[in-house]
Assembly symmetry: C2
Homo-oligomer: 562 residues x 2
C-alpha cells in the first residue's frame, strides 16, 4: 500500500507517524511545500518576540528523523499541484526547479492547512507587511525587526534603502489568537503597538461583553486599540515607513505590519480534484476523515468539522483537533473503525499576564443558530483562596440548557487559573455533564491552587440555583420596569452606583422590608451577585418578586470603554 500525505505539519505529520506505527510495510510519502515538516507553528509569534530565541526549538521533528525513525519518505519544497482521483495519482512540483513528477497512491491524505487571508488591498505588497504562518515568515519578520541595527553603512541590507532607526511602531491587523499573540510579542520587544480590528470586538469566538474585558486589558497595557475599523490599504511614507489606512479614514504609522485577519482553508487542490467542499468553505469529510472520494482523506485546518455541541458544520483551525484528526485518518487507512467526534472549540490565549479561555459555543453563536433553549450566568470568583497570595479575580460566563441543565459552553478571563478551569469545563462538555454535575465536581483544592468551592463548582451552583428556581436572574439589559435594590455598603456606592437604585445594605434588609414594593419586580444589585443572591432569597421567602442581577456590578463593567 502506498500512502501519500500532502502537508507535513500538525495533521499530516501526526498521520504519517501513526500510520507507520500501525503498518510497518506501507509505503509512506509525505510532501511539504515549505522547507520544514512538523514545526511548531503555534510558537511562531513567540519566536518573533524573542521569547523562544532559537529557531531550531520550533522544529519538533526533522525530515531526517521521519526517514530514520519512521521509514517515511519526506520531500520538502515539494508542492502537490494536481490530483487525479480516477488514476489515483498526484502531480508533485519541486518548488525550486519547477519539475513536476507524478506519483501513484492507494490512499491520499490532504493536510494542506489554511492560508492567512491577504486581501488585494492597495499597497499590500509593500515591504514590512507580513503574515505569520511558517518558520521562514518568522525569520523574515525577525530580520525586519533588526534591520535598523545595521546602519553602519547608512543602508538597510534588506531593502537597500536608507533607514533611520530600527522598527519602533507595529500595527497588527486582526484581533484573533495570532493577532493578540503578536500584540503581546511586539510589546515584549518594546514596540508601540496599534491593533486594528474590523469587527466591534477582539477575539471573535468570545461573546462581545466578555471581549470588552480583553479590550480594556489591552488598553490598560498601552495598546492603541482601533475597533470597528477595517483596513483600507497601505502607504509608504516619505521616510520609508508605512502607514496603515483604515476604512474610517485614519492613517496609523507603522514600521512593521502584521496581517492576522484570519485564515482560509487551502482547498484549491481538493476543488480541482472534484472533492466536495462544505458550505463553510472547507473540505467536507465524514467522521472517518474521508472526503467524497473514499481513497482521499483530509485533516486539519483545511476541513470542516462538526461542532461537537451544536452539531453544525464549522471551521475551527486549531492544532489539537488537527493532530487527533491525523491520527484518526491513519487508523482508518489501516482499516480501523476510528471516528472523529467533532470539535468543541476549546482554546486558550495568553495576552500579557492575562489568560483568555473558552470551550463550547458562545451565546452569539447559539443565537445565530436560532437556539433559545439556553441560559447564561456570570460569576467572578477568585482563582484560588483569597487569603493565599496571588489570587486573581476570574470573569466567567457559562452557558447551559434551560431544560436539561446540560453544559454548553464557558468563557473565562483572568490573570491566573484559566486553563485549569477551562479544561474541567471542556471535559464536562465532552462527557455531556450538566451544571448539577459541576456543583458536585471534586477538583483539586489547596490554598495555592483553588478554593474549597472551586470556580467550577461555583458556576454549577449559580446555574443550578437558577434552574431550580432558587435564584431568578435578570441581566443588565433586561432591567427595564424593575425596582432596583442595591444591597452593597454605602462605601461601595461611593465608588460606583446605579442611578435610581435604593440602597439597603444586606445586613439591614430584614429590618427594612417595608420600604420595598410588593407589586414590582425587585432587581437586586451587589458587587458580584453573591450578596444579591442572599438578598433575593430573603425577599422571595418574604413574598416579594425578586431577581438577582446576574454578575452584579462586575457584569455591568462589561460595557464598552471605547
Amino acid at each position: 500500500m502506498k500512502v501519500i500525505i500532502v502537508g507535513g505539519v500538525a495533521g499530516g505529520a501526526s498521520c504519517a507517524a501513526r500510520l507507520r506505527r500501525l503498518d510497518e510495510k506501507a509505503e509512506i510519502l509525505m510532501v511539504e511545500r515549505g522547507p520544514y515538516v512538523s514545526y511548531a507553528n503555534c510558537g511562531l509569534p513567540y519566536h518573533v518576540g524573542g521569547v523562544i530565541p532559537e529557531e531550531s526549538s520550533l522544529l519538533v521533528a526533522t525530515e531526517q528523523m521521519f526517514r530514520a525513525v519512521f521509514g517515511i519518505e519526506v520531500r520538502t519544497g515539494c508542492e502537490a499541484v494536481a490530483v487525479s482521483p480516477k488514476q489515483k495519482t498526484v502531480d508533485l512540483r519541486d518548488v525550486k526547479t519547477g519539475e513536476v513528477t507524478t506519483e501513484r497512491y492507494d490512499k491520499l491524505v490532504l493536510s494542506p492547512g489554511a492560508a492567512p487571508i491577504r486581501p488585494p488591498l492597495p499597497g499590500i505588497d509593500l515591504p514590512g507587511i507580513f503574515s505569520v504562518r511558517t518558520v521562514p515568515d518568522a525569520r523574515t519578520i525577525r530580520e525586519w525587526l533588526h534591520r535598523g541595527e545595521e546602519t553602519k553603512t547608512g543602508m538597510d541590507s534588506y531593502t537597500g534603502q536608507q533607514v533611520v532607526t530600527k522598527p519602533k511602531r507595529a500595527v497588527v491587523v486582526g484581533g484573533g489568537f495570532i493577532g493578540l499573540e503578536m500584540v503581546e510579542n511586539f510589546a515584549h520587544l518594546g514596540l508601540e503597538v496599534t491593533l486594528v480590528e474590523k469587527l466591534n470586538q477582539v477575539m471573535p469566538p468570545l461573546d462581545p461583553e466578555m471581549a470588552r474585558l480583553v479590550e480594556r486589558y489591552l488598553v490598560k497595557h498601552g495598546v492603541n486599540l482601533q475597533l470597528s475599523d477595517g483596513v483600507a490599504g497601505f502607504r509608504q511614507a516619505k521616510d520609508g515607513s508605512l502607514e496603515v489606512l483604515t476604512e474610517s479614514g485614519k492613517a496609523h504609522p507603522a514600521d512593521v505590519v502584521i496581517l492576522a485577519i484570519g485564515v482560509r482553508p487551502e482547498t484549491a487542490l481538493a476543488k480541482a480534484a472534484g472533492l466536495e467542499i462544505g458550505q463553510r468553505g472547507g473540505i467536507r469529510v465524514d467522521e472517518h476523515m474521508r472526503t467524497s472520494d473514499p481513497d482521499i482523506l483530509a485533516v486539519g485546518d483545511a476541513v470542516e468539522v462538526k461542532d461537537y455541541v451544536t452539531g453544525q458544520w464549522t471551521l475551527i483551525p486549531l492544532a489539537g483537533p488537527a493532530n487527533r484528526q491525523g491520527r484518526i485518518a491513519a487508523d482508518v487507512i489501516a482499516g480501523r473503525d476510528s471516528r472523529y467526534r467533532g470539535t468543541q472549540g476549546t482554546s486558550i490565549c495568553k495576552i500579557f499576564e492575562g489568560e483568555i479561555g473558552q470551550t463550547g459555543p458562545s451565546e452569539k453563536l447559539l443565537r445565530q443558530l436560532g437556539d433559545t433553549d439556553f441560559e447564561k450566568v456570570y460569576l467572578y470568583p477568585n482563582s484560588h483562596a483569597g487569603y493565599y497570595p496571588g489570587a486573581k479575580m476570574m470573569a466567567i460566563k457559562v452557558l447551559f440548557r434551560k431544560t436539561s441543565g446540560r453544559l454548553l459552553g464557558a468563557q473565562l478571563l483572568s490573570e491566573d487559573g484559566v486553563a485549569k478551569r477551562v479544561d474541567a469545563f471542556a471535559m464536562a462538555i465532552q462527557m455531556k455533564a450538566t451544571v448539577y454535575d459541576l456543583e458536585e465536581a471534586e477538583l483539586t483544592y489547596a490554598p495555592p491552587f483553588g478554593s474549597a468551592k472551586d470556580p467550577v463548582n461555583f458556576a454549577g451552583m449559580v446555574a443550578g440555583n437558577l434552574l431550580r428556581g432558587d435564584m431568578p436572574l435578570v441581566h443588565w439589559d433586561g432591567t427595564a420596569g424593575g425596582f432596583l435594590l442595591d444591597v452593597r455598603n454605602p462605601q461601595e456606592l461611593a465608588v460606583e452606583s446605579v442611578p435610581g437604585a435604593l440602597n439597603i445594605p444586606l445586613p439591614q434588609l430584614r429590618a427594612r422590608l417595608g420600604e420595598l414594593p410588593k407589586d414590582k419586580e425587585i432587581q437586586v444589585i451587589c458587587r458580584s451577585a453573591v450578596r444579591a443572591y442572599y438578598a433575593t432569597r430573603i425577599l422571595i421567602q418574604n413574598g416579594f418578586k425578586a431577581k438577582n442581577i446576574s454578575g452584579g456590578m462586575l457584569a455591568r463593567s462589561h460595557r464598552a470603554v471605547h
Copy 2:
C-alpha cells in the same frame, strides 16, 4: 423549626449559610468549641510560615457576619457535650465558665471535624510540640518561633526559661498533606527541617513508587528525611531544646516539633448519643448525610464517605467534600432530595515548587480491595510545549479498568501544570469516562499552557494503545526472563544503562532485527517509553514477541534512594 449545628468551620458553616438561604424562618444555632467560626484551616501552615502574614486573613466569615447577614445565632467557645436523641436536646458547655445549658432541636447537624492524633508518648506534653488545627494553634506556633527574638532580658516570655537563640531546627512528624506543607513553610522560614515518617513512604494516598519522587525532591531541597521510623518519644535536652526519639533509636534535635501523623474523626458525641459508627471509625451517614437517627445529620471530616470509584466506606478529610456535604445536609433539612455522590479523593499539595496531585484510588488501595481488573501506565510528558520557556517534566501514573477502559485514578507530580491535569482527570472520573475519552479530549492548548497532545490525551493514548493490544507493556518488576533491548542512543547509555540490555538505537532497529531472538519476549527500553513504543510496533509487525517497558528509564528512577 430549630436546627442546631455543632461545629462552625467548613461543613457546619456551609450548612448553616445554605439552610438560611433555603429557609428564612428556621431558627439556626451554630456552636463552635474554638474562638472562631468559618476560618481557613487549610491556610494555617502558610500562616505559620508567614506566607499569609495576617491572622485576620484566615477568618473567612465572622460570628458577627453570621448574625447580621444570615440571622444565625453563633456561640463560639461553646462545646456540645451530650445529645439526647429521644428528648431531641443537646447539652452545651461554655468553655470559659463551664456552665452547661440544654437546647432543644428539631434537626441536629454534627460537624465536629477530626482531631490530630496525639499518641501518649513519653514527653509529648513538653513545650514546643504542636499540632496544626486551629487559628490559636497557628498563633502559638508563631509565637514560639519568634521567642528567641525576645532575649533582652535573657528570659523567654513564653516559658520563663533562658533561651539561646530563636528556633532553628524543626522536626515534622508525619509526611502527609499537613506534614509536607509544614516542611515547606519551615524551610521558607529558614529552619533546618527533619521529616520523620513511620511508613516507608511520604504522602500515603500516593503509590509508593510515586512517593519516591516526592522523597527525592524533599532530599534535594535539603530536608532530612527519615522514613520507616516512628516516633518513640520526646526529651528535653540540657539546653532546653527538644529531642525527637525514634523507634530505631535515633534522636533528632529540635527547637520546634509538629505532630502531623494524621487525624481521627471526632465521634465521642455521636457515640455517646448511640449513633452508628462505621468500620473505619467515622460517623455512619446515608447519602442524605443522615446518621442512624434521621433527625441527626453529620458532615465533614467526622463522617465516613463512600469512595466514588470503589464504592467502599472510607475517611477522606478534605475541605471540598466537607463544604458540599454541609450544603447537602441543609438541602435535606429543608426537605429537598439532595444526595452526596461520594468522594473520589481529589487532592493537591504544594511542596516547594512542586505540585503533588491525585484523584481516584491508588494501585495499592485497589490491591487491598482485591481488585485486579485494572491496568496502569506511567508517562513523563512536558507540562507545556517544550519549546516555550518553563516547561517541566510531569510524572503521571494512570489506573484504569482492563475490561472497559474506564478511568479509575491518576497521580501526577511536576513543578508545573499538575492542577490543570488532575482537574481534567477528576472530571473524567466523575463522568465515568474511559481512557478512550481521554484520547479525544479537547483541552486548552497554546504553547504557554499545554501541548497539541495534552498530557491527558497522551495518557489516554498510552492506555488505549495498551488495551487495544497495540503496545503490550511490562513493568520493571516483571522483566525477569525477558530479553532486554535498549533503543536509546549510546550517549544516553553512558549516563545510565541497564545491565544485560542489548543496545540498538531506534534508527538502526529495522536493519538489525537479525540480532534479536524470535523465541523470547523482547522488552524494550528507552528514556520515557515513547521510542520504545515505536520499536515495539516495529518488532511486533516483524513477528517478534515484544513489550514496551512502561515508563522507560524514567519509571526505573522511581526506585528508592534512601
